[in-house]
C-alpha cells in the first residue's frame, strides 16, 4: 500500500495493522543501531508496499551528528531508484516513512524537501522533536515555497517499544564523547 492508497483507505483496522507491521520492521533497525552503540532509532521507507530503504542512526560511526536514521534512509532511496530507473522525486511523493521516534527538527526539514506525504512515528522526541514537541516544522505553511509541502504525521505507533530501546541506550554513556563532555556523569556517579 503506498501513501496515496493509504489516504483513500477507509478500513482503519487494516491501516492500523499495516502501521504496526511496518513499525516492527523499523524497530528492528533501531535494535541494530543499539547493538552498534548508536542512539537506537530505526527507519524504513515504504513504496509500492515494499521496503525500499532503511536506516539506523550512524552518528558515532561517521563522526557526523546529522547521520540520523531518516537521513540515511532518504539517501538510500536514490540507490533503489537508480536500479529501477525511477525518478526519486516521484517515488518520495508516493512513499510512507516509518520511524521509531518523532523526527527531529532537522529531519522534519529534510522530509519536507523530499515531499513525502506521510510520516508514521513511535514515541515523541522531547529533546529535538520537529513534529510538535519542540516546534512543528511538519505543517508550517509559511516555509512551503522554499522548503516544500507540509506532511501528515501519525504518532504513537508502538511508542513504548521505542522508548524502552532509548532507555536501554541512555543507561550507558556515549563512549565517543571526549573526556571534558563526560566529566559530569562520572562525578554524578561517584
Amino acid at each position: 500500500m503506498n501513501a496515496k492508497e493509504w489516504m483513500r483507505k477507509e478500513d482503519m483496522t487494516t491501516a492500523l495493522d499495516c502501521h504496526l507491521g511496518w513499525m516492527r520492521k523499523a524497530l528492528g533497525f533501531a535494535q541494530r543501531a543499539l547493538e552498534a552503540q548508536e542512539v537506537p532509532v530505526g527507519c524504513i521507507i515504504i513504496y509500492d508496499d515494499k521496503i525500499i530503504a532503511n536506516g539506523g542512526n550512524e552518528v558515532n560511526k561517521t563522526k557526523n551528528a546529522t547521520r540520523h536514521a531518516e537521513i540515511i534512509a532518504i539517501e538510500e532511496v536514490r540507490t533503489y531508484c537508480a536500479e529501477k530507473k525511477l525518478s526519486s522525486k516521484d517515488v518520495f511523493k508516493s512513499s510512507i516513512l516509518y520511524v521509531t521516534v518523532e523526527p527531529c527538527i532537522m529531519c522534519a526539514g529534510a522530509l519536507r524537501q523530499i515531499e513525502i506525504p506521510l510520516v508514521v512515528y513511535g514515541c515523541r522526541n522531547e529533546r529535538f522533536g520537529g513534529c510538535g514537541s519542540i516546534i512543528d516544522v511538519s505543517c508550517d505553511k509559511a516555509i512551503t515555497s522554499n522548503i516544500g509541502p507540509t506532511f501528515d504525521a501519525i504518532s504513537g505507533v508502538l511508542a513504548d517499544d521505542a522508548v524502552s530501546l532509548l532507555k536501554n541506550f541512555y543507561k550507558g554513556e556515549n563512549v565517543n564523547a571526549p573526556d571534558s563532555k563526560r566529566k559530569v556523569k562520572k562525578e554524578q556517579r561517584s
Binding site: E58, V59, K61, T62, K63, N64, A65, T66, R67, I71, I74, E75, R78, S88, C104, I105, M106, C107, A108, G109, A110, Q113, I114, R127, F128, G130, I134, I135, V137, D140, A142, I143, S145, N146, I147, A177, P178, D179, K181
Partner: protein
C-alpha cells in the same frame, strides 16, 4: 566591512510591554517601611519582581504597588482588587497605573521602562557589547571579511556548476584555520546536500569520519573554490589525551545565505560555536522564520551574526 548584526531573541529587541497594577499613595511617609513590610507578606509581587515597590517623586506623594487586578475568567469586571488594604495604616485609595510587564534586559528597555515605573535592571555586559554596533575590532572584521569572501567564491563556483549560489566555510577560530569548504550540491539529485550539510560532513571527514561520497575535487588542495577539508586529524598525540575535535565544537561557520531549518538544526546537533551569514531569507531558521540558535528547549545555543558582507552576498540572490 561594516559591523555584522547580532541576531538576538525577541526578548532583547521587543518594545516594553505594559500591564495595569493597583497602586496607592502613601499618606503618611513615616509608615512607608511598615507598609512595604506588610505588603511584602500579604501581596508579594510574584511575576512583577522587577518593579521597585515604591515610586518617589519630586513634589507629589510616594506611590506604592499594591497588586495586579484580579483576572476574571467569567468576563466580568476586570478591574477588581482582591486585596483588603483598609487595615493598613497610611495608605490612600487604590487606583490603576500602567507598569512594565517584564524585566528590562537591555539599557534601551530599561530607559523606556522608567517612563512608567522604577524597575531593577542588571545589564548583561556581553549583550550590551553585542548590541553596541562596535563589537568586533578591526582585525576581527578583517578576518570575517576574508572568510565571507571565501564563502562567496564557493557560492560562485557552485553557480558555475549549475548549483544554487551558496557557499560555506567552517573555521577553527582558535587556530585561525579553515577546516572545511563547501558549496551547495542539492541540484544534482541529492536534495539534502545543502552547502551547510556538505560542510558539516567535510568536518566529519577531517576527523576521520564522513558519510557522503563527494566529488573528487575535495582532495585538490590548491583549488581555491572547490570542496575541501583539512587533513591530519586526529593526530596520535591528541587521540591519547582525548583532546581531538568533537563535531563542530568551537568552530565558526561562514555562509553566504541564512541556513534553512534543516541546516540550522544540523548546526545544533553539531555543536557549532558561532554562525556568520550574509543574506537573510524568508524561510531562514536563524532569525527569519525560526531562531533555532536560541530556541527554548534545545540543548545547545549559539551566537549568530547576519549582514556579513551582505552587499556582496545580496547580489548572489537578486534575480540576475
Amino acid at each position: 566591512m561594516e559591523q555584522p548584526t547580532v541576531v538576538l531573541s525577541d526578548e532583547y529587541t521587543r518594545p516594553v510591554s505594559i500591564v495595569d497594577v493597583f497602586v496607592a499613595n502613601i499618606t503618611n511617609k513615616k509608615l512607608t517601611s511598615a507598609i512595604v513590610k506588610t505588603l511584602a507578606e500579604i501581596a508579594p509581587l510574584e511575576n512583577l519582581q522587577h518593579l521597585k515597590r515604591v515610586k518617589g517623586s519630586k513634589d507629589g506623594p510616594l506611590q506604592i504597588v499594591l497588586c495586579q487586578p484580579e483576572t476574571d475568567l467569567s468576563g466580568g469586571d476586570k478591574c477588581k482588587m482582591h486585596l483588603d488594604i483598609n487595615k493598613i495604616e497610611g495608605l490612600g485609595k487604590e487606583y490603576l497605573v500602567k507598569v512594565p510587564a517584564k524585566p528590562p534586559v537591555t539599557r534601551k528597555q530599561f530607559e523606556e521602562s522608567l517612563k512608567y515605573w522604577p524597575v531593577n535592571f542588571h545589564e548583561d555586559k556581553e549583550v550590551a557589547a553585542l548590541m553596541s554596533g562596535k563589537y568586533f575590532k578591526d582585525a576581527e572584521l578583517e578576518k570575517i571579511k576574508l572568510y565571507m569572501e571565501m564563502a562567496v567564491r564557493l557560492a560562485e563556483h557552485g553557480r558555475v556548476k549549475n548549483q544554487l549560489s551558496i557557499g560555506a566555510v567552517i573555521v577553527d577560530p582558535s587556530k585561525d584555520s579553515v577546516v572545511a569548504k563547501a558549496y551547495d550540491l542539492r541540484q544534482s539529485g541529492y536534495p539534502l546536500q545543502h552547502a551547510v550539510m556538505v560542510a558539516i560532513d567535510l568536518v566529519a571527514y577531517s576527523q576521520g569520519g564522513g558519510m557522503w561520497k563527494l566529488p573528487e575535487e575535495r582532495v585538490v588542495q590548491s583549488c581555491d573554490a572547490g570542496l575541501w577539508y583539512a587533513k591530519g586529524f586526529p593526530s596520535e598525540e591528541c587521540s591519547k589525551d582525548r583532546t581531538e575535535p568533537y563535531l563542530c565544537t568551537g568552530y565558526d561557520l561562514y555562509v553566504t545565505q541564512e541556513p534553512c531549518v534543516m541546516c540550522s538544526m544540523a548546526l545544533v546537533h553539531s555543536r557549532i560555536g558561532r554562525v556568520f551569514y550574509g543574506s537573510a531569507q524568508p524561510a531562514g531558521a536563524l532569525g527569519s522564520r525560526y531562531a533555532i540558535h536560541y530556541q527554548p528547549g534545545l540543548n545547545h545555543h549559539f551566537s549568530v551574526f547576519k549582514d556579513c558582507l551582505s552587499k556582496v552576498t545580496d547580489r548572489l540572490y537578486t534575480g540576475s
